[in-house]
Symmetry: C2
Subunit: 157 residues, 2 copies
């Protein structure tokens, strides 16, 4: 499956007022290489293994394969992951026909908030809320796999 996603920085926490769902995500990577990212994610009692390929040249889509796995097994797999576990709260915010997934990061990525919107077509337009900042689609620094190796805390700002 190919995903078309656009990613933005979030410039205020006003999005929390519009959010209808929130959950905490813990994830690690068995490989952080951008051409073959292997992610273990645990959300409550649910867990997934996700493999992503290289982004297309425009940065908008990327091969993605995902399978639900047993949460206890996922905990064992997290222990094998590269150093740099990602912990974040995810908020869902519905705007028109689309849903923003907003990630507020903790730990070494504290201070970073990123919103993603999944589109059906590259040309889909959507309403931009006030809290939506600069677009960072395709900027590999914002990939969670890269944030696990080079956390936000150490970025030059």
């Amino acid at each position: 499956m190919e995903e078309i996603e656009r990613k933005y920085r979030v410039v205020s926490t006003e999005f929390k007022d519009d959010s209808h769902q929130k959950y905490t995500i813990k994830q690690g990577f068995l490989n952080t290489h951008p051409e073959r990212t292997v992610r273990v994610r645990i959300t409550g009692s649910t867990a997934f293994l996700t493999i992503k390929g290289k982004s297309t040249a425009d940065g908008l889509s990327r091969f993605e394969w995902e399978k639900e796995i047993d949460a206890n097994e996922a905990t064992q797999l997290l222990a094998l992951c590269e150093p740099g576990m990602i912990v974040k709260d995810r908020y869902l915010v519905k705007k028109g026909n689309f849903t923003f997934e907003i990630d507020e990061f903790y730990g070494e990525n504290e201070g970073l908030i990123v919103a993603e919107i999944e589109l059906n077509n590259k040309t889909d337009s959507f309403e931009k809320p006030n809290w939506l900042g600069e677009e960072v689609t395709g900027d590999t620094r914002f990939y969670n796999s890269q944030l696990s190796k080079n956390p936000y805390k150490y970025w030059k700002k």
Copy 2:
């Protein structure tokens, strides 16, 4: 699950006379790191994703997690793998209570034949056939993940 396995070189092809099953395996790696190996394997119409952790100090056991996956999806995942696909014929040879899995490699690993036996306990003893050579248990050069990066053809012999 932990596996207890001992691995040997195979010094003749006489094992083929005793084999009751043979199939071809194609496999690639999404990570070849010995602490977090991620393997995609296709055997006929069956495919598996396997994740292995670090070996124990004695080299006899290693954390292993495996899930059957769709063979068409596995073909897509093979395309993401690191360069160095492994192709081999696997022969099964039953001896007493144990079954040897013997891999005859092709491509850049042509000439290498390796037998593995899975034991229930570290102290299990078993009959050693004439074709069984030197033990190489725990020698990481013989890991398939390492053979994909440093094939037998290029070894100093």
